[in-house]
């Protein structure tokens, strides 16, 4: 189980890094680059995200559980997709704005280019 967790974490870190690099570099591009498709590590997809991740990534799950999303039980899928049909590592800002449309002005106020510039991805606390 421990090995599986480490493997999972490594894959996740690589994916996050790739996504962030591609995402940041895109800000200075004039046109879209070729999409890099992220793939969720193999998992038992008959289980819910939270059920599995409370074992695989307990720290992250705990951060999420204490967050506004966790308190409302808005699960991993709302930002990361279902893991099979759709999967992302770093959710698009527009996804956030869809449910937090009243925060669009706030984004302008802080001149941010994305919610996760300030907000931790799982605790959602502004750092």
């Amino acid at each position: 189980m421990r090995l599986k967790r480490i493997q999972f974490s490594i894959v996740l870190i690589v994916l996050v890094t790739v996504a962030l690099v591609v995402s940041c570099s895109s800000l200075i591009q004039t046109g879209p680059a070729a999409p890099a498709v992220a793939v969720h590590p193999e998992a038992d997809f008959t289980r819910s995200c939270v059920e599995c991740h409370s074992e695989a990534t307990p720290e992250i799950t705990a951060q999420w559980a204490a967050s506004g999303h966790g308190k409302l039980n808005y699960g991993c899928y709302i930002c990361h997709g279902d893991g099979e049909a759709e999967f992302t590592v770093t959710p698009a800002t527009d996804n956030c704005v869809a449910c937090h449309s009243s925060s669009a002005e706030h984004l302008e106020d802080v001149a941010g280019t994305g919610c996760f510039e300030c907000h931790n991805g799982h605790s959602l606390i502004a750092e």
Partner: protein, 760 residues
């Protein structure tokens, strides 16, 4: 850093996302690579799901719904969405949308033309009517239908065909709340609105898993408590739920044994001096259970039998907790009670509602900001379309009843039909209606926007009737458990593909625009009903309904001068504003925050002498004295108490991620991943006794059958209680539910069934 304006920001973030290209689409309904949001048209609308009535903006492009976002200008949700609403575009664009009419031929449903499908319906309905009379036909609608749709059904069946066999699924969820309001306040629907939430010091959440069933209301509660830590929240529910995160106190009565707890809270409120005797004197009357007039003294005498200690013996709730709950309510300057199916879906649902109303009436915690007895509605237009629109077997539009001759005359005149067409006797309520279908007394039924084959309690009992009689199903999705039995299936336009009005929990009516053409050959339900009417021979009666606005205007003309006056809520106005809370009698009226008090146009019109010395006047009072009623309702066991053979109480309900029979939420892989299948929650102590491990298979049985299902061993249900969410066709738990119903509201007791459990 360079300051970005909104447009630049959005363009930048869209580019970043396209380049990152790591999966989740910007907009849940959009195809991959189609994520540019420039060029989208945004339309102000209302969420398709629960009764909260959240404002949503629908994003369309090239006649397709591609996005949804919260409407930041709507004060109900302030731009926020719950997880179900976020994925609405997936439901609109789902492969499971029904696109063509179908008629059963040689035992199989085959695609056909609208012309043939409508002819089959009209000819069969006319044949049944001619051979067996109008009461051999029935309509079964939905709290998700628009007001205009239910209005057309009402006119066709009650006004033209001549049967009051008109029902809808709100009978299964809200009828007891209606009965509670009518008997306690004299008129249906709450006195206050959501505006009370942020003004209240205390909340009693009774039989309500607000966090999952009404998430945006829960979010408002959570924010309010976070900002005001002195706010107290008491939960009364046999099950611990995510709502408990905000609870200061949780009372766990045995399912079906909470009435003594409610009475005991009243007993403590009076005994410890929290009653407002001046308010009672001016505003409240008392009635014993058989309807005889009483007074405060006889009420006190009645309550002597409901001490916290006695309530503990019956309910299992510690007496000390009952006292604590009463003190929290009594000490708070303002208090809101909110409830839903835990009170309503009960053999004594109306009584349960009455007993919660009593707390507010004896303490005067009603009619002032922050205080109200506020029923949360389950479906988006159960209030607007069915309760207000008269879509049940005893009702007519505008809070009228079929039994009242004057009401029948008023409605018949507007409908342009002889008053004699509308029968004075109520039709068959839902359980009786499907019973009559099974017995063969009803031979043809039109089912719109709901799936009773899955949702009815003791559902299997009624499949025979659906199989044997002539069944028409108008639906947006295919297949459902009900379309399996249909002789004709009609593709209905879905949310966003039609215009109309939804009226939510807080008396707010909101307009929804047509944003894209209906998919395939789908048509708007109201037009389908109109055209069936014409083909049945009621050409003249349905000639004028060319637009939704004509239907709405005719309907609201029936509300003029009524307690639920909508004359100020024209389409023109509703298109501009984020809904209006009735009564709203004129185009310049802002809508009403509090009923029965100053600011309510009906109250304001009352003669001064009636209002002298009182701050509220319950103008629907049956005793004609403007007084609300405190009822002395005794305890009564549920229809199926547990026993040695059936030692568990089975209770069912919703979860956050899914809705009813999964036709909509089942189209979002994300929501399916979150909760992929049904499960049975069982307390660890019970699981240990039975040797049941978490995620193992168990068999669950009631007097109506048994089902294999996965166990979730968790300390949410109280020991002795089993909870199963009801959404999945593969685990149709309602088959095991009891169809015993409240004798007043006729709402079935979904919330309590005696059950046994064993390892599979």
């Amino acid at each position: 850093m360079k300051q970005l304006n909104r447009r630049e920001f959005l363009k930048t973030s869209a580019a970043a996302t396209a380049a990152a290209g790591v999966g989740v689409s910007l907009f849940p309904g959009m195809a991959w690579g189609d994520q540019a949001r420039d060029g989208l048209n945004w339309h102000k609308s209302v969420c398709r799901y629960c009764g909260v009535g959240c404002g949503v903006m629908i994003g369309t492009k090239d006649d397709k719904v591609v996005a949804v976002k919260g409407d930041a200008e709507n004060t109900i949700n302030n731009g926020h969405l719950c997880v179900k609403a976020f994925y609405l575009p997936k439901a609109v664009n789902a492969d499971t949308r029904l696109l063509n009419p179908m008629v059963r031929k040689d035992g199989k449903l085959v695609e056909t033309s609208w012309d043939e499908a409508l002819d089959v319906v009209a000819k069969n309905f006319n044949k049944i009517r001619k051979e067996h009379g109008p009461d051999a036909l029935a309509f079964y609608g939905s709290g998700q239908a628009e007001t205009e749709e239910t209005y057309m059904a009402n006119k066709l069946f009650k006004g033209c065909i001549g049967t009051n066999n008109v029902e809808g699924n709100p009978r299964l969820c809200m009828a007891s709340a209606v009965g509670g309001y009518l008997t306690s306040h004299g008129l249906d629907e709450p006195a206050g609105t959501y505006e009370d939430i942020e003004k209240s010091e205390c909340f009693m959440l009774v039989g309500s898993n607000t966090a999952e069933a009404h998430p945006i209301i829960f979010e408002r509660l959570m924010r309010h408590k976070h900002a005001n830590p002195n706010v107290k929240i008491v939960i009364i529910d046999p099950r611990k739920t995510p709502t408990d995160q905000v609870a200061d106190l949780h009372l766990f009565p045995k399912p079906g044994f909470d009435l003594p707890v409610f009475n005991a809270i009243s007993q403590v409120l009076i005994a410890e001096g929290y009653a407002d005797e001046a308010f009672i004197k001016a505003h409240v009357g008392f009635k014993s259970n058989d309807g005889k007039l009483g007074d405060l003294e006889s009420y006190k005498k009645f309550l002597e039998d409901y001490t916290p200690e006695k309530a503990e013996k019956i309910s299992g709730v510690p007496a000390a907790d009952i006292v604590k709950a009463a003190r929290i309510f009594g000490k708070s300057k303002t208090a809101m009670s909110m409830w839903t199916m835990g009170l309503n879906q009960r053999q004594r649902g109306v009584w349960s509602n009455n007993l919660v109303h009593n707390w507010h009436l004896i303490t005067g915690k009603i009619g002032v900001p922050g205080s109200d007895a506020f029923s949360l509605t389950g479906q988006p237009n159960a209030c607007g379309g069915v309760r207000e629109g008269g879509g049940l077997c005893h009702l007519l539009p505008g809070h009228r009843v079929v039994a009242n001759e004057q009401h029948r005359k008023e409605v018949a005149e507007v409908w342009g039909v002889p008053a004699a067409n509308i029968a004075p006797k109520p039709g068959k309520h839902t359980v009786a209606m499907f019973g009559a279908l099974t017995d063969g007394d009803i031979k043809g039924i039109y089912i719109m926007c709901t799936s009773p084959a899955q949702s009815l309690p003791n559902a299997k009992k009624y499949w025979k009737g659906l199989k044997e009689q002539f069944v028409v199903v108008a639906e947006s999705f295919y297949p459902t458990m009900t379309t399996k039995y249909a002789d004709v299936v009609l593709p209905a336009a879905f949310w966003s593909e039609k215009e109309g009005v939804y009226g939510c929990t807080e008396r707010r009516s909101q307009y929804m625009p047509l944003t894209v053409p209906p998919r395939g050959q789908a048509r708007w339900d109201a037009f389908i009903l109109r055209d069936i009417g014409k083909r049945m021979g009621f050409e003249k009666e349905f000639a004028k309904y060319e637009t939704a606005e004509i239907m709405w205007d005719e309907y609201r003309s029936l509300t003029a001068g009524k307690d639920m006056d909508l004359m100020g809520a024209s389409y023109g106005r509703l298109k501009k504003v984020r809904g209006l809370t009735w009564p709203v009698p004129t185009e310049d009226h802002p809508g009403t925050y509090k009923r029965y008090t100053k600011g309510d146009p009906v109250f304001d019109r009352l003669p001064a002498e009636k209002k002298a010395g009182r701050r509220m006047y319950f103008y629907g009072s049956k005793t004609n004295d403007g007084k609300a009623t405190v009822w002395m309702r005794p305890h009564m066991d549920p229809a199926e108490p547990t026993d040695a053979e059936y030692p568990f109480a089975l209770t069912t309900g919703r979860i956050l991620e899914h809705w009813h029979t999964l036709t909509m939420t089942g189209t979002a892989p994300q929501l399916n991943r979150a909760v992929p299948k049904a499960y049975a929650e069982i307390h660890p102590a019970d699981a240990k006794k039975l040797g049941i491990a978490n995620r193992s298979q168990i068999v669950l049985g009631t007097r109506r059958g048994e089902m294999q299902i996965e166990a979730r061993v968790i300390d949410r249900p109280a020991p002795g209680t089993i909870f199963v969410p009801w959404h999945w066709e593969e685990w149709p738990i309602n088959v095991l539910c009891n169809d015993a119903f409240d004798p007043g509201s006729k709402e079935p007791e979904y919330k309590v069934a005696a059950a046994w459990v064993r390892k599979a």
